[in-house]
Symmetry: C2
Subunit: 196 residues, 2 copies
DNA sequence: TTTTTTGTTGATTGACGAGTCAATAAACGT
DNA sequence: ACGTTTATTGACTCGTCAATCAACAAAAAA
């Protein structure tokens, strides 16, 4: 009993199912059948709407990035002052929505995907660029341009590293603990400034 | 014309080929055929010596970890004083041998492998444990036990994050620049100590 | 009402890849 | 000389999976 206007619903279901399935399996080695089954439809329908597995992965990645970006923007909107803005970025990065088991697992695999797929690489570059520019903007108040760039670079890498480690520990994700690590880094770097 | 005593040679060739092939492709999606061809033998022979793809991956990972561990131990051997020891760890981590394109790519995929294979996870846990214990040992002089643990945790994550980012940038790896980032982190954390 | 558009699936195809096997050949021990 | 161990491969089996197709169902348009 075909209902009309299914396309956005099915696409959303597939995107969500893709993220969950990649996160659960911990690798990109998921079949279209698994994704489609979790989304409650046949493999043929999945192909009908997305045209291929690759497009599904890309859409899932874009969605993850979009959600993250929206959350950051939202938190940034109500934050005043550089420190509050930094805190907002951390809060969004380790929020309950983004720092979930499957999502973190999916992130890791998006990095892998970016190694082979130029489109995925571009998406990731956009994300990294935005994060860095946000951080630099916050840091420019207390640090010089060059320093701010270096610290932002390190903070980005640190956040990625914390995500990476979270993906490995089987336990439940602890966003608060993760944020503490990054916060300590930022506090120390801002407090001192020059190193070596 | 079968020469005797080929086993170790072939195994080494396969391990090396596995690392290169994973690093080049940027994913674990490499066929036994590709690995075997690069190692200059038939797929059947690869299976003969390793019994399966999984074992090849594990051996490659173990090898990478062993090389890294040996290099750290070597550098640590001639270092005196906590600061020199920290520097030795950084030097080994971002040395020309370990911080190479294919090796970094392989690392990333070992993390992915660890999500599904318990054996890979164990190997990685050993590596992380050794790194942390090394770092804590160095830091205990200037920081308290709890502080040292937190800083070591962060440093480990930061190193992983820097590796992760290196895997993405197509450019030639710059170990010196990478070391600077981590060095700045350690210097800042040791200089101040308590944060927030 | 007919036609077209949208939704939906079971079955099929075609490719690819892991792992196995039987066979060959050289060295080694006796 | 002869059996045994080690090295080596081409050919094969078996399963899996992405992608396609033909067909059917229902709503919308004509």
């Amino acid at each position: 009993m075909p209902k009309l206007g299914m396309e956005p619903i099915r696409k959303a279901a597939l995107v969500s199912a893709t993220i969950v399935e990649i996160g659960r399996k911990g690798s990109l080695d998921v079949t279209v059948g698994q994704i489609a089954r979790r989304a409650g439809m046949s493999t043929a329908l999945a192909h009908h709407y997305f045209g291929g597995k690759e497009a599904m992965f890309l859409a899932a990645m874009r969605h993850t990035l979009t959600v993250y970006g929206a959350e950051v923007r939202g938190a940034l909107g109500v934050a005043q002052g550089p420190e509050a803005r930094l805190e907002a970025i951390l809060l969004a990065s380790f929020s309950a929505t983004n720092f979930r088991r499957e999502v973190v697992g999916a992130w890791l695999n998006f990095y892998v995907l970016a190694q082979t797929q130029p489109a995925a690489r571009r998406l990731l570059a956009v994300y990294q660029g935005r994060l860095r520019s946000n951080l630099v903007h916050c840091l420019c108040g207390t640090l010089g341009r060059a320093e701010a760039l270096r610290v932002a670079e390190g903070a980005g890498a640190l956040i990625d590293g914390v995500y990476l480690r979270q993906a490995l520990t089987g336990g439940a994700p602890d966003g608060a603990a993760a944020a503490v690590v990054v916060r300590a880094y930022l506090a120390a770097q801002c407090g001192r400034g020059r190193a070596s």
